[in-house]
């Protein structure tokens, strides 16, 4: 990718034309720390999101945040996805999660959709739900994106599915896709908060959280709500990004690990991370049964390099330039995800359990 002329429309609706030089991924520090410059001709500057002061990986503190900071985070999340969902869908389709790949396999760009579907199927299998005799009838998709999982699960099980997201743009798009696919009566989407789900207790026999847990500022509350809306005998499936488990002598992650996570958090509107062990403890504290957890990092390794490659394609770059700063910043931070995985700091985790029948 060498030189090219691009036109783009900035956030204030002005069309700008400029040359694009060789795009290389810069050292993380300077880019993240720099305030983005307004495109020439724009008179307003684009503010950096408010930095969140949270703790990273503190063993005893369970990652809480005050109401004002939560509000800021949620607005950031909503805006990030309002802005980015279109770009993602355009290039990757309607599943906004990692693909599941055979370790060491050679993966081409066309394999990714199949891998994303495999991720759903492997997750169901891990939770002992791929047996034909077990059919959930009422499903909630917590952090549903544009509804990829919701529509897939509704179709697979002939079930009703409700999806919740903070992003009005996503909810709208999810509903459009459902209607277009004839699923309008089976799946519905609401703008709602996973930490305060607008559903009665025990409503759902499958509670599905596919890569949304990392956005939750209060893991305790998040897990409590998941458990609350699960019907007796129902199952919870959480697939999420965690940091490595702490050893018994550690109180928190090492400073350089915390620094790396912080950069990722700022770009993706993530609050403090927790470990897989933390999730297991939370589920145990709620007397949930059959708790299983696994590290699937080796099965998702091809994903980020593939996303980066797609971002660097012509379509990727022009789409990014047409989106906004939040999306671009998200793209720039992708190599940090690879770094985190390589260092054994970031884990792709699955945690499942079952609510007791009575």
């Amino acid at each position: 990718m060498t030189g090219a002329i691009c036109t783009t429309t900035c956030e204030y609706g002005r069309l700008h034309t400029f040359g694009v030089g060789l795009l290389s991924f810069p050292r993380p520090n300077p880019i993240i720390a720099t305030k983005p410059q307004p495109l020439s001709g724009c008179t307003r500057s684009i503010p950096l999101s408010t930095p969140l002061t949270v703790s990273y990986g503190g063993r005893r503190r369970m990652m809480t945040m005050n109401a004002a900071a939560t509000d800021t985070l949620q607005k950031g999340i909503a805006e990030f996805y309002d802005e980015s969902s279109g770009v993602w869908e355009d290039i990757w389709g309607d599943h906004m999660h990692h693909g599941f790949y055979e370790p060491g396999s050679d993966v081409s760009l066309s394999d990714h959709r199949a891998a994303q579907i495999r991720m759903i199927e492997e997750s169901l299998r891990f939770a002992s739900l791929s047996d034909d005799s077990v059919q959930p009838g009422n499903i909630v998709d917590v952090g549903c994106g544009i509804g990829g999982s919701s529509r897939y699960l509704a179709r697979k099980y002939g079930a009703k599915c409700k999806g919740i997201t903070l992003s009005p743009v996503q909810a709208q798009r999810a509903q459009e896709l459902a209607a277009a696919q004839g699923l309008d009566g089976k799946v519905s989407f609401q703008v709602a908060d996973a930490l305060n789900q607008p559903f009665p207790d025990g409503e759902f026999d499958l509670v599905w959280s596919m890569e949304s847990g990392e956005h939750m500022p209060d893991k305790t509350k998040f897990v409590n709500e998941l458990a609350r809306v699960t019907a007796p005998g129902g199952r919870i499936i959480i697939v999420t990004w965690c940091h490595r488990d702490l050893s018994s002598s550690e109180e928190s992650l090492r400073p350089e690990e915390q620094q790396l996570l912080k950069k990722i958090c700022d770009a993706y509107y993530l609050p403090a991370w927790c470990s897989t062990a933390d999730y297991v403890k939370l589920l145990q504290s709620l007397s949930l049964e059959d708790i299983k957890a696994a590290d699937w990092s080796q099965y998702v390794a091809p994903f980020w390099p593939a996303v980066i490659k797609s971002a660097l394609s012509w379509k990727g770059i022009t789409s990014l330039l047409r989106s906004g700063w939040k999306t671009i910043r998200g793209a720039l931070v992708m190599p940090l995800m690879i770094e985190g995985y390589k260092k054994g700091l970031i884990k792709f985790a699955i945690i499942t359990c079952r609510k007791p029948a009575s």
Partner: protein, 122 residues
């Protein structure tokens, strides 16, 4: 938002003991045809809070549902068609859902309810 969805939403505002059912404020109702499926309706009947459905349906301008219903009525085609229409074919496009205890309004725009709570409601 159809009434099938409304029948499963409740207000989770801090301090509210019974946030169900949400009252409906109508600004725009749209009717969209949906394929009639008897098995689906029979299946759903047990899970529906009937009074809430009947009340909501009236608010949306459709008063054909009886105030009370029991499963024997599922044998009647006429009843099933009314049930079908109210549950699946009436859409609140614009309006609000109102917490029955606090009166707080959750907006509905383009058919999507926004159930997010404010800082002080959590």
């Amino acid at each position: 938002m159809r009434l099938l969805t409304h029948n499963m939403l409740s207000s989770n505002i801090k301090g509210v003991t019974n946030g169900f059912p949400l009252r409906i404020e109508v600004e725009k109702v749209v009717e969209k045809e949906v394929d009639f499926n008897v098995d689906f309706l029979r299946n759903m009947f047990a899970k529906i809070e009937w009074k809430a459905l009947a009340e909501a349906s009236r608010t949306m301008g459709y008063s054909e549902l009886p105030d009370d219903a029991e499963s024997s009525m599922l044998d009647s085609d006429e009843f099933l068609r009314k049930f079908h229409h109210a549950l699946l074919e009436l859409h609140l496009e614009e309006g609000a859902l109102v917490c029955p205890e606090t009166g707080r309004k959750f907006p509905v725009n383009k058919g999507i309810p926004n159930m997010l709570l404010h800082e002080d409601e959590v």
